[in-house]
Symmetry: C2
Subunit: 140 residues, 2 copies
């Protein structure tokens, strides 16, 4: 059983055929796929799974804190598996669209400190950097 399905079982989520397929696809994916990509991967396993079900299942997984939705700009949402042990942020390569994860201790502490100073209890955050590679790698 894959990590996503295990997390579902742990939360007593009813495991339908479709949810098993989508869980597998999410567990085995790397990078930050969007809904359509998950849909295609799921369809490669079971061509009858509908886009609506993929949307509904991803929303369910998100609400159960199993995956996290990334809304970079107004385009399609992307997803990543939640890993509470490794908080991280994202740097997006403007030329390739590549999403680089990074961690920084100062960032982590700073955002909590700032929220507190402003009189707020930090709930969540959105930290994205956009940039271009300095390594002269021209790519399309």
């Amino acid at each position: 059983m894959n990590s996503i399905e295990a997390a579902c079982v742990e939360r007593n989520i009813r495991m339908t055929r479709q949810r098993k397929v989508i869980s597998k696809v999410v567990a085995e994916s790397s990078g930050h796929p969007n809904v359509e990509e998950f849909y295609e991967l799921a369809n490669a396993i079971n061509p009858k799974i509908s886009l609506a079900t993929v949307y509904r299942t991803l929303k369910l997984l998100e609400q159960c804190n199993i995956i996290r939705k990334l809304e970079l700009g107004k385009g399609k949402a992307r997803y990543e598996e939640v890993d509470i042990c490794h908080e991280h942020y994202h740097l997006i390569d403007l030329d390739t669209g590549e999403i680089i994860e990074f961690y920084d201790e100062h960032f982590k502490n700073l955002k909590e400190k700032i929220a507190r100073e402003l009189g707020y209890q930090l709930d969540s955050y959105n930290i994205e950097l956009y940039g271009r590679s300095l390594k002269g790698k021209e790519k399309d």
Copy 2:
């Protein structure tokens, strides 16, 4: 002439009646209005201005670096006047939707340092904190 219109003139942007009205409305607004709010404000001055024109003008202003578009979540985009002298970030009150601007020297330096360390030239960023007020002000 207001600050937005002045910035347009400086960039040789053709000033139509509609653009003058929208510029005025943007210049005089406070907070972070969304397109519909600008549309209503503009219509209070000239009821014939269309939503499409508001969208087109805001996009123009954004492309000319006169205003900045904030995409907080997937809802309606919000806007603020660009002020290169006062870089800042946003904290969003989850209960009221209020957007609090803040500045932090460490944040500013940190993001540039991190991008550089990852081999990137920082182009832009998106830093939003979401939280709830500690001041026990229950509001709707």
